[in-house]
Each structure stands twice: as structure tokens, then as C-alpha cells.
């Protein structure tokens, strides 16, 4: 028998008069409950104070069990409401295509009914029905240096790295509490020190043609995430033309295979005009450097590809949610040439704002004519959309490739958009050796 005796550490946390008042319950029991969660987390993070946040992105609206619904409803019953602009991540259902999520088993039926109730509960708290993992594509884009409380790993990586806004990695539940109080713990990536680069990733040996292709993002992200864990990598040698969609794919893969919540791309992302700026002023000695080559990218593609055969049942595009440019790119690929093979289901996931914009430009009609299934409000790897008989799926997303084998029990082939389309037409996996040469 061993006895473990533990006492709380003396608190470092100092609250303002207004924050004390919120915690006491002067603004209602719901605000007080949210404040207990925010300050409870601040104590563990040894934060000296809280920081005001200007927007929130809530990940907790995806159903994992009754507790999520109990939490949102309790806050609502106690009178809480968001006090800053708050976007919502994907839910468990596609509300525009309600029959898309399967309901063959009792567990699937629970997700459908409770998942809908959870989405409703977050709307009742005053959040916007954006239902997207890419809120940065919607109209809410925080500026450089702005403190926000964004949850969902790819949204965190994008906000910190590409926008230069400041959010930490939080657990579920903290996001909505920050939205209700307008406060987050001043810790982690809210502070200057934590945002400095820690590892240099040298990509200068990779040809620009490969770096400009659509597999560079997912593969570099996957490789670096698995090697740096939760440290902050600094990429050197990426073209100045690297697009936001490429950075989105890179961040999403790095946040999945590792815990990357922030990265710098020298000459591209706002806090990295130079390597020295990204590493920060008090960096002593030579930082650790990882050198990557095209051979490493090919090896990463092989690792993420869990099926080496020709069989193909479905293609999934849009994880994280597709931008208008990505929807347009798929439509352009499908505009000329053979029809999709009858046995292959092609899905593209996007947020509602992108759906509206892409529809007004005619891309959605073009995709539907070609036989592509549009998915909104949710994502094909978090809820049962793919048919029960689907065994091998092709994707151009490192994040989808990383999670789907465990989440869905399917085998994955990672390919560029062009390879995905060529395969969907052929009805079997067709890879182009030139893609990564």
C-alpha cells in the first residue's frame, strides 16, 4: 500500500475586478461556471493572469457522448451566452443532406439524434452555425497579434501560423467557456516565448516543382509532425508563392501526426520574415535542423498509404474543409474527359459559406452533374457517411489519411488531386510516378 498526499500549489493567478465579479456570479451562474473552468485551467497552466480574447471557435459541438450535451445545456440553463463572435466546428450531421449520415446501428442512431441536439444546444448559446473546421475561410479572420480562443487542431495551427493570431491548444469545453467569459488563460502560445521556432526544417533540397504541387503540404506536415511532436518548426526553402491552401494542408497534417500548434515558413508566414526572426532573439548556438528530401516525401506517402493494391471504392476531398479555389480545382479537373467510374463514390467536404460562393460561380452544379457528393456541416472521417462496403479510399489530405484507418476501419491511398480524379475515372488506383520525382 502506497499513500500519495498532494496539496494544491499556491495560486499565481491574479484576476481583474471584472473577472472576480464574473467568477462570483454577478453576471449569472452560467458565466460563473464558465469562469471556474477557465480559471481552473489557468491554475494548471500556471498562468499569471487571463487574457481578453476577441473571437472563439468551438470544437465541442461534435458528439462524443452525453457529457457534451449535458455541458452545453447546463451552461444554457444557467443563463450563459457567448459574448464574443463565436464560430462552430463541424457537427456529427450534414443538416443540408440529412440522409447522408447512416443510421443502421443503435450507435449510429444515437449519434444522429444526440448529435443534432448538441448542434442545437450550441446555437442556443449564441454561436454562429458555421459548422466548419476552416473558420478562417469564413468572414472571421483575426489579425496579426490578436488573442483568440480557437479549438480544433488545424484551426489552431492556421490561426497561429498563417494569420499570426494567438491561441493555445485547449481541451474541449474550454472553447465555449472562453466564448462566454471573453477570457482565456495567458499561457502557452498566447505568450511571445512559446511562439519562437525550436527546430529548423530545411526543404531547399526538394525541387520547386514538387514543393508547388498539392502533396507537398500534407507530406511535409506529416513528416515534421511525427518528428517534432509539439515543438514549433521553422520551414526554410518553401517558395514565396506557397498558397494558403498548401499551408492549411501542411498545418492539418502536422497537427495530426504530432502536436504542432504553430509553425513558421520563412518568407511566407507573418512572424517569420527571416530565420532569425522566427527563432527569436535569445537563441543560443545552432538550432536542431532536420533536412528533408524528395525521398523522404515518397517514404511518407508510402507510410500514409495503407493499401498498395488497385482496388478503389471512394475518394474523399476537403479535409480540412475545401476552399472555393479547391472546389474550383476539382470542377476544372472534371470538366473535360471521361466520366467517373460507376463503382467509385467521390465526396468533397466544405463549409456552408464556401458552398454558397462556389454555387454562385457554377462549380457546385458542375460537380453534381459529374456525380460528386457534396458534404457540408460535418466531415467524412468523423461520422458514418461512407458506405458500409467501402474498404479502400483515396484522399489528398494528410489529416484524413492519418485518422481514417482507425476512425472508419478503411484502408487509405494518399494522392494528389489529379491522381484522385484519374483514379476515380479509372475505377482503380492510378498513381503518377512524376508527382514526387
Amino acid at each position: 500500500m502506497t499513500r500519495i498526499l498532494a496539496e494544491p500549489e499556491p495560486s499565481r493567478l491574479r484576476l481583474t475586478v471584472e473577472e472576480e465579479s464574473m467568477r462570483r456570479g454577478d453576471e449569472g451562474a452560467g458565466v460563473a461556471m464558465a469562469m471556474r473552468v477557465v480559471t481552473g485551467l489557468a491554475e494548471v497552466r500556471r498562468a499569471p493572469r487571463l487574457v481578453g480574447v476577441t473571437s472563439a471557435h468551438v470544437d465541442g459541438c461534435l458528439y462524443h457522448g452525453q457529457v457534451g450535451l449535458d455541458f452545453a445545456r447546463r451552461l444554457h440553463d444557467l443563463g450563459a451566452r457567448v459574448r464574443i463572435p463565436t464560430t462552430l466546428n463541424v457537427g456529427s450531421l450534414d443538416l443540408l443532406h440529412p440522409d447522408l449520415v447512416r443510421d443502421a446501428t443503435p450507435a449510429q442512431r444515437e449519434v444522429r439524434s444526440q448529435g443534432k441536439a448538441l448542434m442545437d444546444a450550441y446555437l442556443a448559446l449564441g454561436a454562429r452555425p458555421t459548422w466548419t473546421c476552416a473558420p478562417y475561410i469564413v468572414d472571421s479572420r483575426p489579425r496579426l497579434g490578436e488573442h483568440v480562443a480557437w479549438a480544433e487542431s488545424n484551426a489552431i495551427a492556421f490561426a497561429n501560423s498563417v494569420l499570426g493570431a494567438r491561441t493555445d491548444r485547449y481541451g474541449d469545453f474550454l472553447d465555449i467557456c472562453a466564448a462566454i467569459t471573453g477570457r482565456a488563460p495567458y499561457a502557452g502560445l498566447h505568450t511571445d516565448a512559446a511562439r519562437r521556432g525550436q527546430v529548423v526544417v530545411d526543404c531547399t533540397a526538394i525541387p520547386e516543382r514538387v514543393l508547388g504541387g498539392d502533396l507537398a503540404g500534407p507530406l511535409l506536415g506529416y513528416l515534421v509532425g511525427s518528428r517534432v511532436g509539439s515543438r514549433v518548426p521553422v520551414f526554410v526553402g518553401l517558395p514565396s508563392t506557397t498558397s494558403e491552401d498548401q499551408l492549411k494542408a501542411l498545418g492539418a497534417a502536422a497537427a495530426s501526426s504530432g502536436g504542432v500548434a504553430m509553425f513558421h515558413v520563412v518568407g511566407v508566414t507573418p512572424e517569420a520574415p527571416t530565420v532569425e526572426a522566427a527563432l527569436g532573439p535569445d537563441r543560443s548556438g545552432d538550432p536542431e535542423t532536420i533536412t528533408l528530401t524528395t525521398t523522404d516525401l515518397r517514404a511518407a506517402r508510402d507510410e500514409l498509404t495503407t493499401d498498395g493494391g488497385e482496388r478503389l471504392d471512394a475518394v474523399s476531398i476537403g479535409t480540412p474543409h475545401a476552399s472555393v479555389d479547391e472546389v474550383a480545382a476539382l470542377a476544372a479537373h472534371l470538366a473535360d474527359g471521361p466520366a467517373l467510374a460507376s463503382g467509385v463514390h467521390v465526396y468533397i467536404s466544405m463549409g456552408r459559406s464556401v458552398l454558397a460562393e462556389a454555387a454562385s460561380r457554377g462549380h457546385i452544379a458542375a460537380l453534381e452533374v459529374a456525380g460528386v457528393q457534396i458534404v457540408v456541416d460535418t466531415c467524412t472521417y468523423v461520422t458514418p457517411i461512407l458506405g458500409a462496403d467501402v474498404r479502400v479510399v483515396m484522399t489528398n489530405s494528410g489529416k484524413w489519411a492519418h485518422y481514417a484507418p482507425a476512425n472508419l476501419g478503411v484502408a487509405v491511398v494518399l494522392g494528389s488531386l489529379a491522381e484522385c480524379v484519374a483514379s476515380a475515372r479509372a475505377g482503380r488506383v492510378v498513381l503518377d510516378p512524376e508527382t514526387l520525382r
Binding site: 500500500m1 461556471m33 457529457v67 487542431s153 474541449d172 469545453f173
Partner: protein, 129 residues
């Protein structure tokens, strides 16, 4: 009776048999709602922490681990107490929410890494935090 002292991240008291993990665990994707470790890469894959005191160096992975831990505590399939060597805000958040909603207090304590290394699966521990 051996004893060790630590830092309380969440207050509470519990006693029970230990499950000591060789590697950190992500509750989301790493354990199911019955409290069984389902991460096939984890050395303790297949073992259950339901009704036991869980000890591991740190948590890892998804921020939805808070959600899964809180749901396990709601169902009574979570650990009786959690012993860590590194602070983990995501685990604490799960315990905090279970307390807010259901009044369910799971102690989460931090002990020095060399003390954690003395703990053995099957040993009975009493946690007072």
C-alpha cells in the same frame, strides 16, 4: 506503508489498484467508453483502467481527450484517480467538467518522475489530494 508527496491538480480522494502505463495515452482514440485501452500501438493495449488508479508520465494527443474522460467518468468507467509526472491541462479539464456536471471528484495528482517510476501495476494506492 510507503508514501510520496505531490502536487494536487484536482482535489479528491480515492484508493484502489494501480494500472501503470509505459507510454502516455490519448483518451480520445486511445480508449473506449468502457475504459479499455484501444490504441493498438500502446504497450498496455487491451487493458482497462475502469475502477483502477491510472498512472502515466503524461497525457498525449487530441484535445477531445477531455470530452472522452468526462464521458467515462459520467458512465462510471473512468479511473478512480490519475497520477502524472507532467501537468496536463486536457486531463484536468475532463475531471473538472465531470465535477461541475455530476459532482464527481476524481483526484489528479502530480508526483516527481522518479517517484512515479516506483509505482507498479497491481499495487494498491491511496490518493489524498
Amino acid at each position: 506503508m510507503a508514501s510520496m508527496t505531490g502536487r494536487a491538480l484536482r482535489p479528491g480522494s480515492a484508493s484502489g489498484a494501480l494500472l501503470v502505463l509505459d507510454e502516455p495515452l490519448s483518451f480520445w482514440g486511445g480508449s473506449d467508453l468502457a475504459g479499455t485501452i484501444i490504441d493498438t500501438h500502446h504497450p498496455q493495449h487491451g487493458q482497462s483502467f475502469a475502477g483502477r488508479v491510472l498512472a502515466m508520465r503524461s497525457g498525449r494527443g487530441s484535445s477531445s481527450s477531455s470530452y472522452v474522460l468526462a464521458e467515462q467518468l459520467r458512465r462510471g468507467t473512468g479511473p478512480l484517480a490519475i497520477v502524472l509526472a507532467e501537468p496536463d491541462a486536457i486531463i484536468v479539464l475532463g475531471a473538472l467538467v465531470a465535477h461541475e456536471l455530476y459532482g464527481h471528484s476524481v483526484p489528479v495528482v502530480l508526483v516527481p518522475p522518479d517517484e512515479l517510476a516506483r509505482l507498479r501495476t497491481g499495487d494498491v494506492v491511496e490518493v489524498c489530494a
